[in-house]
Symmetry: D3
Subunit: 321 residues, 6 copies
């Protein structure tokens, strides 16, 4: 079998452990288990929508490690994993209690000591860069360890050399680091990034931007030379800036069964449509539709189809029989 | 034991296979299984509300076949089944993914080759017609095979001879046949039908009716000689026409946990109240109340009680303790 | 280990048996089982929010009996149980079908013959009164049997002698007794009660009070000499009266996954905050916040944390990562 | 629908609540629920093997009450139930922890106050006696209350008058009564019984018989005039005596997934074969085969088919594809 | 990504629907769902043990169709599927009740009308033959339809042209065809087969061989020119013949939790070891070990690891901590 | 509430995550979760058999941390936990796949970075030593970190000063350290130990003992001055040496549903009986009975009762009704 690759992503994937909706971790007797990680969520979403996707990471060669790759492969993502001795690093996990207003969803990370914290560029095969067109990673990876940060930088540089379009989702995690530390790390990476995805709140609180989303996008684009900046604004939809032109995308209403992974689904829809040859406006529509559909599906990843995304873009829904 | 029968229905019942809410078929590891079919849904609903109901059908004599009759019997419906060799026909199944906006519910029929497609009038015992007062079937059955269509006609005729009131729910299924074919088949049956249930959309798109629901009802009644025509209009409620008089019935608000079977619950409530001696207006109230309650219950059938229907009609709800 | 006790409660705890949401008891193949009872719900909620709580009751020494105490202990409540021979009384149970509009939640009590109906003051150890500051019971207990009513009276008196503040939640249950009988029983107890919790509807329909909630509170306080009266008004929030001063507390919006136990959570939040030194106004805020959080958790008891209650009071929510 | 009845049984059916295998009641979060009762177990088993069976009992008209009849009906048994007000009697329940050596299965009865304890002959319709050939009940029913004992006697007498063959399974329950009391009650009934099923241990310890199983059968037959006596000896198989002739039946080896209901399955197989025209020897074979199959199925009742029983009798097994 | 292929298999994969152990299909409320098919079972087993495996088949492009490929991909098998319109063929299913002595496992096939029955050589891409070394299929495929039989022949021929070693597992299914018909079809294929796997019983009853397993192997090899013949004898182990030399392999004791797929696991272990360079004797050891491990795992496929197979071969087991 | 303490244990408790029996971690969608740790297993078992038990440990103040203490408390164990900031240490977890011959149970530890690795004597309150009579810990704790080893030593010394009888279960874990390192660490602790539990294999392979179990016990007792040495020999039962006298205890046959925790159950039974005043011989019987019962219960801990242990000692079993 000879494959082609459209998209390469890099990052940590954890096992997500969550009690049934309405139950608490303290009293649960069984936990649903799924693979979840920002960058593999993007790879899965894009793969399901038609892209050939490879995911780079480091995992212990153990049942929990293989649990992660099994699930990614089931969605058609090719894991290019540096397998290590189980003693040299674990599979990160996270506990999720899905909330219901006024009780917020609660995420308890248990990712210290994960194998990926020891990753080096030498661990990873970038053979897939040869025929790929896009590389994607997020601001979570550099927060995991110095090595992970260095490897992020190295991969962005190598992707650049290989002529790939590099996208980066800020994904600031307050439980991992302080805003100032994060900002410094991000800014070191920005020179290697073509497309930035950033929530408005993080643009303000972490990157220190002011004004509305458009102003933020202009400021970031001009300071760091991004080709494209996409600022997401929660229920108010997204704004994108490219070549001085502004694009607005509203949100599709959705019944939220599981909010985790919505942002990753947004990026997945965007990248899949770009890879498919769609323009920025079409990519934002797919992004918003994929994000809306994600909310209706339990788990981190957007288990949706191209047909469903197109139906949402076209205004569909209802029972089909 | 000597029984009496109020209602006889005829049609296909499938096994419905559905993943838990929020999960997708592609990733599910277990599926809920239930018996579901328009005509048995009506029989179950009516039986639960007090009618003595018999259901006519054809099934293979196998565990999946018996799974269907076990469930119907548990609700008090008497299955009068033509049991066949398992090699001569299967139990139809359908896969259901319950949706959440903007993802619609998705029904994947897997009913080709079902035993019922070979049904003939000779297969079925109509002994129950002797003391019954009503016969009900739907527009799904004639779509299944020529034999099923012929048998539908024969049963309607026989019901007529036996003096039963015959009702018919259009239940157009776009996945089974084209509108024009369906219309021709329906119109051949209409002369044997006393009461027609039809959604406004199907009246327009399949039967080619124009105007509002009342106009449609008048047109259908005058053209085909129906005693009663009930046109359902989704959230706008139903309209019925009988002896030139128009009855309006609005919808009871409901939290929808499972929308499948709502239309069948409507018919079940209607028929149960008519059998119970209620007038058309009361029957429409029961119809709407049963339909609303169905939405709160997982599965194809309205697992509700007479007391609950009466409470909804009376405007009840709340925790009773 | 040497403990201290803040709160002592007394009452019946049952096993609650409920099918999954959207399923009916008639068709369920498995039932969730949890311990539930107004007074232990209060003890659990208060214990989870920081109070040292003891629960007095009578149970058979059997697996179902121990199932109850295991669950209470898991939340940090100390059960002080009079264990009896299993032949001398059962563990009450109740069946719960959680509703969805327009189908109300349905509670089927199966508590006849419970061990607690034979309880006498001599059965119970009130050693925990020595260092406790509050005693709480509800209007359910005296409805269970004459002995339970007598024991309630005796405990309230003993609590009084021990200098404890005694609170009483009316909790009228129409399935247990008639309003007039209940009223007579309540009024006999009122002289031993410092703080009364009463729903406005019960104040009107059972206690025969007229006017608005404030007028009711004034009337009750003046007639029976309560230090504090808290009248709850469903979605309109609560009103409290103390030393002639009126306090208003609105409701926090909540997505209701399980409404049972909301009132007990209200009392638990109130008592926990009072025990913690909070004033009446702060206690009402905690009460409302705990009640709102309870609605998001399956089961009778408020499996929440102090941090979560404080977040709701502070207006929080959202995903925390 | 006009039915015929072969077999009428009478007795209490409870809801059986049991944690998954290997779990304990004290720690379980969900319980499997099934209908279980010696006499309905027999009716279900016989109905599944081809007999038309009616079950007489008394139940409250409530969801738990209907849960019982739904399940019986699903197996083809016709419940002829005296429905009472839920306040006038409950549905008995029992908790079952399935054991694994050396931990025995543990049954915790919670049947006090069941509706059946108030049953009178006037409550029950014996219309089904008209065309039935056999009546069956067990030694559990008279243990439940004086009224239940009287009704048992009355039904046996009425069955006699109607010309039915009456069978009785001793089913001594040490948790319900003392051996001496039980013996006296049994002996009052024996004159109305044609066929007695009795475990060897109970013949010895309760009925005071001595010697081996054959000697016991002879003694019982001659003292009480039974037409047939079947003595079961656990793993050593059964011995039957009829018209002075002795029949031996060994046990079929079985992997035991759930031992409860094995004795009832034995009786069901026996009665079904007798009703089907089989001789005593064939009936014992069916009895043993049905009992063996029961052990492989979770729940109180023998969810098996005639084909399976015949395969066991013929020495079958293995995967059939 | 550039892949290599070791093994190509061809055949039908169904969705397997099975109730929990000890439950019956007739009473089950949920069914476990897994992908199962002899040839994909072999591909999965071999892939898990280190081979690069491709599976050829035809499926409808629908959620049930994708359910199959998702699961195969999760184990590392590359599906090379001819996707068809869902109206042109369904996904076959089968119902499985796992048995317990004396109740055999029961398989109810529901595979009529499966998409694969319309498969033609033109539908399938054999690009993977280019770098593969082995092709495997079974005697189930030619039983499905004439087209499937023709395609089997065509693929065996094409595999021959491409220089692949072709193996064939007789897998006679009495529910699909008569012995004589099957034999004729098999014998037409045998000229294209290098390695034959056949159970002793089928060699006798279907292929008409006499004598012991070794004699059968000699007869088959000399008549049809097989390079290797492996005769399996259930609990007595396997016998292989190659170049006139006989190899014996006994069975590893196993606790059977799920017997389905044991034969496929045997072939998978065999092929994986051969692909890995192992000799016939080593391949038989792996075959037997993989088969034994399969019995301990629920589902059709051997979810085992190379380490586990090696441990069994080496005589391991026990708790490893 | 004023408590007394019989037994204090010290060690790590993890969350145990395990797929249902017969399923593999790689393919599981949900995992059972339970608290498990050698020393808390002993505390729970002893508490369930009547001892007042306190468990010392260190945990993060988070939902997973509280999940551990909730479960221990539900069995009546009093957790005396040093709660730390969740950033300062995690809750260790372990993945368990329960085996079936020839597939061994597989334990994957994920305990690196657990809060307990930072434990110091100052973290822990030993107030419970005041009225306790026994202290127990195991050879796992010193393997976790230098600090945990030092704290183990300090607690043993403090227990000695407080006059407690100190027991130690060797519990060598090959996945945690090398035999030589372990031996050195153990021997440093032995001077503070009164009662040693050691499996024969570890006595030989880790402690370098030769000869049979009795010889090993003599050697260890004389070299390290133990009051009592208990050598366990798997299916061959245990041997104990005390004051030069040898006691033999055979194993009770058990159907093994879950083997994990059997050794801890043995110790729990032993200690509970000693605390209860039983002599060594009686303690060994309880030990063996509790261990046998544990095998029939899913989870790490012996969810059994005193009555059940006594029944096993007395040779009981069977269904009790």
């Amino acid at each position: 079998m000879v494959g082609v690759t459209d998209l390469v992503t890099f990052g940590e994937t954890m096992l997500r452990l969550s009690p049934p909706r309405g139950e608490r971790l303290e009293t649960a007797d069984s936990l649903d288990v799924q693979a979840g990680g920002a960058e593999s969520n993007v790879a899965v979403g894009a793969a399901r929508l038609g892209a050939d996707a490879v995911w780079l990471s480091k995992l212990p060669d153990s049942p929990p490690g293989r649990r992660v790759t099994s699930e990614l492969r089931s969605h058609g993502v090719e894991p290019a994993v540096a397998w290590t001795d189980p003693d040299a690093g674990r599979v990160g996990t996270y506990y999720l209690e899905r909330g219901a207003a006024p009780r917020g969803s609660n995420v308890v990370y248990d990712r210290a000591g994960a194998a990926i914290t020891t990753v080096t560029p030498a661990d990873l095969s970038t053979a897939s860069f040869a025929d790929a067109t896009r590389f994607h990673t997020t601001g979570i990876t550099p927060a995991l360890s110095d090595r992970a940060a260095e490897t992020t930088r190295a991969l962005l540089r190598e992707a650049s050399d290989a002529g790939l379009t590099r996208s980066f989702d800020l994904n600031y995690r307050a439980k991992l680091w302080e805003p100032a530390t994060a900002r410094a790390a991000y800014e070191e990476l920005f020179e290697h990034v073509d497309t930035l995805f950033v929530p408005r709140r993080d643009a303000r609180e972490v990157l220190g931007r002011e004004g509305d989303a458009v102003a933020m996008a202009h400021g970031l684009a001009s300071e760091f030379g991004f080709e494209t900046v996409v600022v997401t604004r929660g229920a108010e939809g997204a704004v994108a800036l490219r070549d001085g032109e502004v694009y607005e995308q509203s949100v599709f209403d959705a019944e939220t069964l599981d909010a985790i992974g919505t942002g990753d689904a947004f990026v997945a829809g965007y990248l899949a449509k770009r890879i498919d040859g769609g323009d920025l406006s079409a990519a934002l529509e797919w992004a918003a539709a994929t994000a809306a559909l994600k909310r209706t599906v339990a788990g981190d990843v957007a288990v949706v189809t191209r047909t469903e995304v197109e139906a949402v873009v076209a205004g569909g829904g209802g029972i089909d029989r």
